[in-house]
């Protein structure tokens, strides 16, 4: 199809053609970015936690009042043991924080005692000897803690003991702090007294609070510190199918062994993840709705305008038909015309998409729109344009040639 006469005719219809092009450009710019936002959200909500999420339940408790002379340290260990003894529970631990949980413990770490600036802000898990098993975190290098390495949290808090002698860190944190060097055996300073030696590396362990930076999210360390009840929560590992039963049994058990505590929360870790990303999911859903609405509005706009165009040019089409144009040629005329206009729109839209992306980066700390979104958006809009123009173009093709002589 020769496009020169189409362009010549379009020049006389500048406004209408420009409007479609602008609409396409706007849609293209918005859709490219929104698609990227959607994938970004979904990616974030699928971030690996490093723990066996489908096997875990967590229980948060609160004391009703006077501990009745109980040593909270002892109480904690007894309660944990009681929970571990529930049939179906493979392992139980007391921990200060859980992935996707409400509380988060964070510490700035240094690589030298006299360093003024911290090297990284790190999520700190205070773990007992059951933690690695219970969480199912994957130790990919080094070793687990030995029993003599564990400290009591009260001592640490009150400064009665040195910092822990050893710690396990995530692969991400190891790379962040030590680059390609082997992190095992390296020293990390939690304060300016004594170093803590890295003895193991786990694949992943996400910290409870994180933003869009997924490297930062996976920057965690595990310290061999046993918690007392006031600071800890229980995490139980069981078979996925057993979780509800275990939750019920755990509630009952705790009532028996610790009557002066109440259970605040007893849930699966999966539900914690789901709650954590609820806002992202809602937003992603909203964004999908925006894309669909945009596509529909744009498509209807093209259909509407093209229909009017065809109606307005009925006589012209009739003349063309009278002068020997075949139906196919008329059809192609409108299809080509649409393709040209949409292409102009897409070209402008891509520029706009990139500009918007720059602005979003600046405003919302988002990564730059990957370039491959542009052709994806372009193809989508080309298809949309062709699909929308089909019906009007077919109607144009079916204009009888006698229209030329019959219409006054």
């Amino acid at each position: 199809m020769d496009i020169a006469p189409i362009i010549a005719a379009l020049k006389r219809q500048k406004t209408a053609a420009a409007l479609i092009a602008i609409e396409i450009a706007l849609s293209c710019a918005i859709i490219c970015n929104v698609l990227f936002l959607i994938t970004h959200r979904l990616e974030r909500s699928h971030v690996p936690s490093g723990v066996v999420e489908d096997e875990l339940v967590y229980i948060r408790t609160a004391g009703i009042g006077a501990s009745g002379g109980d040593d909270p340290m002892v109480r904690a260990r007894e309660d944990r043991a009681a929970l571990a003894s529930i049939p179906g529970v493979k392992s139980a631990t007391i921990i200060n924080q859980i992935p996707f949980g409400h509380s988060s413990w964070n510490t700035g770490v240094k690589l030298a005692a006299d360093q003024q600036q911290t090297s990284a802000n790190v999520g700190a898990y205070y773990a007992d000897e059951h933690m690695l098993d219970s969480f199912g975190v994957k130790l990919i290098a080094g070793r687990q803690f030995t029993s003599d390495e564990f400290l009591n949290f009260d001592d640490v808090l009150k400064g009665k003991s040195d910092p822990p002698s050893s710690m396990i860190i995530t692969k991400t944190l190891a790379r962040r702090l030590f680059g390609d060097e082997n992190a095992i055996g390296k020293n990390i300073y939690l304060d300016d007294t004594k170093p803590t030696r890295v003895i193991g590396i786990v694949e992943h362990l996400i910290r409870p609070n994180f933003g869009s930076d997924l490297i930062d999210a996976d920057s965690s360390m595990i310290l061999p510190v046993r918690l007392s009840l006031g600071y800890g929560q229980f995490v139980l590992r069981t078979d996925p199918g057993n979780r509800d039963a275990v939750i019920a049994a755990a509630r009952k058990k705790l009532k028996e062994v610790s009557p002066n505590r109440i259970v605040l929360d007893a849930k699966t870790l999966e539900s914690a993840r789901s709650d954590y990303f609820k806002q992202d999911r809602v937003m992603a859903g909203l964004l999908v709705a925006v894309v669909i609405s945009l596509l529909i509005v744009t498509a209807l706009g093209i259909v509407g305008l093209a229909s009017f165009w065809v109606q307005r040019r009925r006589r012209q089409i009739g003349i063309r038909r009278a002068l020997g144009a075949t139906r196919r040629q008329i059809l192609h005329y409108f299809q080509t015309e649409n393709f040209l206009i949409v292409t102009v729109g897409i070209v402008i839209g891509m520029g706009a998409a990139y500009a918007i992306s720059g602005w979003l980066m600046h405003q919302y700390e988002l990564p730059r729109l990957p370039l491959y979104y542009l052709p994806v958006g372009a193809v989508a809009l080309w298809l949309l344009g062709q699909l929308s123009v089909l019906a009007p173009a077919l109607r144009a093709a079916s204009v009888p040639p006698a229209t030329a002589t019959r219409t006054v």
Binding site: T15, A16, I30, A62, G65, D154, K158, G304
Partner: protein, 431 residues
């Protein structure tokens, strides 16, 4: 004349019902989306305490170590217990309160109700007067009660209903953790939005239901909620009383700008004085933001909400362009009609008016309104903790109307202008 145009418009719109529906729907959808997101933004960025937000200040000082010091950065976001108590006792402001969030377990007398946990606020006495908290019954406690670690509690209307079945419960006993408290006041419904005085907890939901003296809560070692920033070791492990851990919010009321200025000077003096005692190693870094400045500083409005506003306006722009195109096509199809009208003697502006009227302002407006209501209903179904706040208020109603009118007129402007450019003729040469 306007009535004639309205009649013409109605006829013309009826002649192309599908197209009319498409235009109205597009405008309506765009406006609906925009108004919905704007409403949410409006609510979330609203002033939580409009009568006095300009007189309430959040003093910030910087007691942190020189480690990790970056010149120009904001001072600590909360105060330590020693600093908080010093500032409180200096009484340099018209009112002042030191506070934190917490949680406690309520043990109702009624055995039928299981013990349950509630969010709590531990604060000093000025809190209620300073923040204009309305009382249904009774009142807050006195400053003396703070000093005496009184077992006094103020509860909300909803908790009063839940535990005591409503009514005047002043003087009744509420058991928290294992201690009996005397109810001294019942708050009426009160929900400053956002939860400006403590941005650690959910900012738009989960408000505290019991208020008790900070001194009492600390003595009884009630659990606290919020964030704590420690920059140095705590010798005896008592982080709460440590000069190296900030975890409390301190608010002051200063009724005149002069007083605010004086208070700023006071904070500087205080920093100097502390440095002379070996604390505050950093250069003086004092700020005194008002409520709105503080909210702005803390970027309290979720970025998603702003993004949604931008998105909806982008969407509206597409709908607008869409409608302009359709109207243009529709108007120019009536070239013949226009030419004849002009030949008969209609001046340009009459043609312009005729087509502008047709721009369907009314239809768009009405539909926009409906869709806005519908959209808000949709937001209410959302997960976010601010969802329940969304409702339409008169300003927004007016805004919807104006936006709809503006959009419809805007979309009609270019087409109507083009229509009135048609040259008069009794007979068309061709087309």
């Amino acid at each position: 004349m306007l009535r004639y145009y309205a009649w013409l418009a109605a006829r013309s719109l009826k002649r192309n019902p599908a197209l009319t529906a498409l235009m109205v729907l597009a405008i309506g959808l765009g406006i609906g989306a925009s108004i919905t997101t704007l409403t949410v933004l409006h609510i979330l960025s609203g002033d939580p305490i409009p009568e006095k937000s300009a007189r309430l200040f959040y003093p910030q000082i910087d007691p942190r170590t020189i480690n990790d010091y970056h010149p120009g950065e904001a001072p600590a976001e909360q105060v330590t217990y020693p600093d908080g108590m010093n500032l409180l006792q200096a009484k340099r402001a018209d009112r002042q309160a030191l506070m934190t969030g917490g949680g406690a377990v309520v043990l109702p007398d009624d055995a039928a109700i299981d013990p349950f946990s509630v969010d709590a606020r531990y604060t000093t006495a000025d809190f209620f007067a300073m923040f204009d908290a309305p009382f249904q019954y009774g009142s807050g406690w006195k400053a003396a009660d703070d000093d005496a670690h009184a077992r006094d509690v103020v509860i909300t209307r909803s908790l009063n209903k839940k535990v005591f079945g409503g009514g005047n419960s002043v003087g009744k006993t509420l058991r928290l953790q294992s201690t009996d408290f005397r109810v001294v006041g019942v708050l009426d419904d009160w929900r400053p939005t956002p939860h400006f005085y403590d941005l650690n907890s959910a900012r738009y939901s989960d408000y505290e239901e019991v208020f008790l003296p900070l001194s009492t809560a600390m003595e009884l070692e009630f659990g606290r909620n919020g964030s704590m920033d420690c920059w140095d070791n705590t010798p005896d492990g008592d982080q709460l009383h440590s000069p190296n851990c900030s975890w409390l919010q301190f608010w002051v009321e200063l009724d005149t700008p002069e007083k605010a200025k004086a208070y700023q000077a006071f904070l500087n003096n205080y920093s100097d004085e502390q440095r002379s005692q070996g604390r505050f190693p950093r250069p003086n870094n004092v700020r005194l933001p008002t409520v709105m400045q503080w909210l702005d500083d803390q970027k309290v409005v979720p970025t998603d909400v702003r993004l949604q506003v931008w998105l909806s306006f982008g969407f509206l722009a597409v709908c607008l362009v869409n409608t302009i195109g359709l109207m243009l096509a529709k108007f120019l199809r009536r070239n013949g009609e226009i030419a004849v009208r002009r030949a008969i003697g209609a001046p340009r502006r009459e043609i312009f008016a005729q087509f502008l009227v047709e721009a369907g302002a009314v239809a768009g407006a009405v539909l926009g309104l409906l869709l806005a209501l519908f959209g808000l209903w949709g937001v209410r179904q959302q997960a976010a903790d601010y969802a329940e706040l969304a409702h339409i208020d008169p300003t927004m109603l007016l805004m919807t109307l104006l936006l709809a009118l503006a959009t419809a007129l805007l979309s009609g402007l270019l087409p109507a202008w083009r229509a009135c450019q048609v040259t008069p003729a009794l007979q068309l040469k061709s087309d």
